[in-house]
């Protein structure tokens, strides 16, 4: 009894809060809907609210100056934009950055969070968590120990890695790599036959000119933690036979060591790995602390753009090429026949190579 009363009470409070912030919520729409017929019924007297007001009450008043945001808290939303730097401040409503570092503050190893500005996500989560629940008892209890083979997660703090001392030298790891990986990723992990390169990317990923081609993303420049790399290759590689027992924990560590070596990664403050370095979980964690671009990663802080919903005679900055010129657009390359050249198959040819439906396997 008391618990359902509590639920009711908290729902009432939630509803009040929701209507204040004008949030999108199922409970709320019924509240909103009930006000419309009331206004409609009072035909004799002049309606106390215009149709417009009623609609604004129910749906929020977009584009009318008196913004009532149904999803984002109005106050937070007001300060939603700003510079990149602002938004990387954990206190900015649009920042998903957090202060707690899961590996003791090393290299921005942060967890990220749902930005405060997404208030309905927080409110719904809270409500669903505290909503009354029947416990069905349909599942079957299982011991955590029974998950030993399935649970192969390896975290940036090292949890999940094999015991210290399991491993092999980098030279041995290279042999493993040549046997199990080179046919796709190339003898030097440089990528082959269109398969992804694993090493050789430049550390400076900045690109001032938008027409510059994309830079290769490899272990050194695009993986913030070596643990993630190890986790991934055990989980998913070699592509045709993952979680491979003939490679084993020692083999996967050796392969990780070899690729780290080929990429020129360091440990203990800049020391180079050698062919005879013994590569185990301890060494892996040492290298993981010196991943060159780890501190370049930041938590999503979009929206990165702020556009007003302008209707007529819009500002040059949002028209055409961003300078008001509507003739200055890019097109596909024009071929000798005067027709644009696209990077796609022609329709007729496409029919045979297309995946799925065409092959009759609905």
């Amino acid at each position: 009894m008391s618990s359902s009363n509590k639920t009711l009470l908290s729902l009432a409070i939630a509803t009040a809060l929701l209507s204040l912030s004008g949030c999108n919520d199922d409970n709320k729409s019924s509240t909103g809907a009930s006000s419309a017929p009331t206004a409609g019924k009072s035909t004799a007297a002049a309606p106390s609210k215009s149709m417009e007001d009623i609609i604004i009450d129910v749906y929020g008043g977009y584009g009318r100056g008196d913004e009532k945001h149904r999803y984002l808290d109005a106050e937070l939303n007001a300060g939603k934009f700003g510079t990149f730097k602002d938004r990387r401040d954990p206190n900015h409503p649009y920042s998903s950055e957090v202060d707690d570092k899961i590996d003791g503050g090393n290299k921005g190893n942060s967890a990220c969070k749902v930005p405060k500005a997404f208030n309905t996500v927080w409110e719904n989560a809270e409500r669903n968590l505290n909503a009354e629940q029947h416990f069905y008892g349909y599942g079957t209890p299982i011991a955590e120990a029974a998950m030993k083979k399935w649970d192969i997660n390896v975290y940036p703090d090292g949890e999940g890695l094999p015991a210290k001392g399991v491993g092999m030298t980098i030279a041995e790891g290279e042999k493993m790599y040549l046997t199990y990986c080179a046919m796709c990723h190339g003898e030097f992990a440089e990528g082959a036959k269109g398969y992804l390169p694993l090493v050789g990317g430049s550390l400076d990923m900045a690109a001032a000119d938008p027409t510059e081609p994309n830079k290769f993303r490899t272990l050194g420049n695009y993986w913030p933690y070596l643990t993630s790399f190890y986790d991934y290759i055990v989980r998913a590689m070699p592509f045709f036979a993952p979680v491979n027992e003939s490679i084993g924990e020692a083999g996967y560590l050796g392969i990780t060591g070899f690729i780290a070596f080929a990429e020129g990664l360091t440990y203990d403050g800049g020391k180079n790995l050698q062919e005879d370095t013994f590569f185990d979980s301890e060494m892996l964690m040492k290298v993981s602390k010196e991943m060159p671009n780890a501190d370049k990663f930041f938590c999503d802080d979009r929206p990165t753009t702020h556009t007003v919903r302008c209707m007529t005679n819009c500002d040059d900055s949002v028209v055409g090429d961003g300078k008001g010129n509507t003739k200055n657009f890019q097109r596909a390359l024009i071929g000798p026949d005067g027709k644009p050249q696209y990077n796609v198959l022609q329709r007729e040819d496409g029919a045979d190579v297309a995946a799925g439906v065409g092959k009759g396997d609905h």
Binding site: S50, T120, G139, Y232, L345
Partner: protein
């Protein structure tokens, strides 16, 4: 919406005045008649129908029966699972072979240009594979919830279907949708520009109910859902998103999930990156920290112009596209056109779609032709008269958070062109001059 609001307000004012006048004139009965006559006068003149066809040659040859009128069709059990008409062969998923070296780790695209309504049929749902589509026997498939829970639990498919369920319509979009064209024009169909996306009705168990059944602990801040397929894909999902509106789905559009979509179960994470909707779901570990899996570091993170990298970009931002006219079609001469399109936002409902015919200087509000559900495709239409001269067709969506879809130039300035994911800027269709040598062609161009 402001314009719509004004319209509604004006109409209400007018009709109120009419009613009052009718009352003054002579009571209720008369009021009805007056209103009827008035409405009929204003609304419809059958003679106007003739005008629109003036000058078109009339058909005078007597129509004859086709063969189908004179013979029987196929029997009731000729197909126990109905397939599209043989004339619909062009409406199919397609892939681009140059995207990846392997057909087992790549993507197919939905023919958005041929889709109607809010729902993509299961056979045309785009697929993203990281290790092929396995055939998993539901009789042996299990889902385990473990980690920071009071009572780790295993569920069979039967167990899950006995639990309370929820059915909702949501779009599912790969964050790489649109990625082919960060640096310019490469493709000439909505299938290629926006086809890494579909919208379906999903049915499953609310994730919050399952987590609570297992006794999720307060220190559990993250969920690590994992698949049972060769990729063993994992993503790190913050508890707030998990408890908000996620579900463990076993059905889409009324039937079991298709193997390419995670049969027998997948996670549904409305509004968020398709990669988070883990397929072939076999395990959810509750933890106090994210995993930083490959799909949230090496992939599904966005490189910025200054060399920094944005990660955990969960939400699919507000977006829209005009599907007709679009590069798959041709204009058929000057006259009235009904432009059709879709708009969607990972943050909630779409509130407005505006269309520009002049490169973004002036905009007019389109009307919705479907319901506008949160995190679902919303259909819009916009009528315009084409005088046969060159025209730039664009759409711009606004969602209930007030976020307005940006023009491409603005997005490019903010995030550069190397991010790969989340290119949600407007696209532009150039309609060629009716008198030129590419008369009526519709070309994909980029500002």
């Amino acid at each position: 919406m402001s314009e719509t609001l004004e319209k509604v307000a004006v109409q209400t004012e007018e009709s109120r005045t009419q009613t009052r006048r009718a009352f003054i004139k002579g009571g209720l009965a008369v009021a009805g008649t007056v209103m009827f006559t008035k409405a009929a006068e204003a609304a419809y003149d059958p003679k106007s129908a003739v005008k629109a066809y003036a000058g078109k040659k009339e058909i005078t040859d007597v129509l004859t029966d086709g063969p189908q009128r004179r013979m029987l069709g196929k029997g009731i059990m000729s197909s126990t699972y109905s397939m599209p008409s043989v004339y619909e062969k062009e409406v199919r998923k397609r892939t681009l072979e140059w995207l990846t070296p392997d057909t087992l780790a790549t993507i197919s695209m939905t023919p958005i240009q041929s889709m109607h309504g809010m729902i993509v049929p299961n056979g045309l749902h785009f697929d993203r594979f990281h290790g092929g589509a396995p055939d998993i026997d539901p009789a042996t498939h299990k889902l385990v919830i473990h980690g920071l829970v009071e009572r780790p639990l295993m569920f069979t498919m039967d167990d899950l279907k006995r639990m309370p369920s929820v059915t909702r319509i949501h779009f599912l979009e790969c964050p790489a949708n649109g990625a082919l064209e960060w640096k310019g024009i490469q493709v000439n169909s909505v299938q290629w520009t926006h086809g890494m996306m579909s919208c379906s009705e999903w049915t499953g168990v609310p994730l919050s109910v399952l987590l609570k059944e297992a006794g999720v602990k307060p220190e559990g801040k993250w969920l690590l859902p994992e698949g049972a397929d060769a990729s063993g894909l994992v993503r790190s999902i913050p508890m707030e998103i998990a408890l908000d509106d996620c579900m463990v789905a076993y059905a889409m559009n009324g039937e079991a999930l298709r193997p390419g979509q995670g049969y027998p179960i997948r996670l549904v994470v409305p509004g968020c990156e398709g990669n988070m909707w883990v397929k072939y779901l076999r395990r959810i570990k509750v933890t106090d920290k994210p995993l930083h899996h490959r799909e949230e570091s090496s992939k599904y993170s966005e490189l910025m112009p200054d060399g920094t990298i944005q990660r955990f970009s969960w939400v699919q931002e507000t977006n829209s596209v005009i599907t007709y006219p679009s590069p798959d079609y041709k204009m058929s001469g000057p006259g009235r056109y009904v432009a059709k399109g879709i708009a969607w936002s990972g943050r909630g409902r779409i509130t407005h779609v505006d269309v520009s015919l002049d490169g973004g200087r002036n905009w007019k509000e389109a009307k919705f032709t479907s319901v506008a559900l949160p995190k679902a495709w919303t259909r819009f239409e916009f009528e315009f008269d084409w005088d046969g001269s060159e025209m730039l067709l664009m759409s711009r969506a606004t969602d209930e958070t007030g976020y307005v879809q940006p023009p491409m130039a603005q997005l490019r300035n903010a995030v550069g062109t190397n991010g790969v994911y989340h290119r949600t800027a407007m696209v532009t269709w150039l309609i060629h001059d009716w008198k030129g040598n590419r008369a009526g062609e519709i070309e994909n161009v980029q500002f």
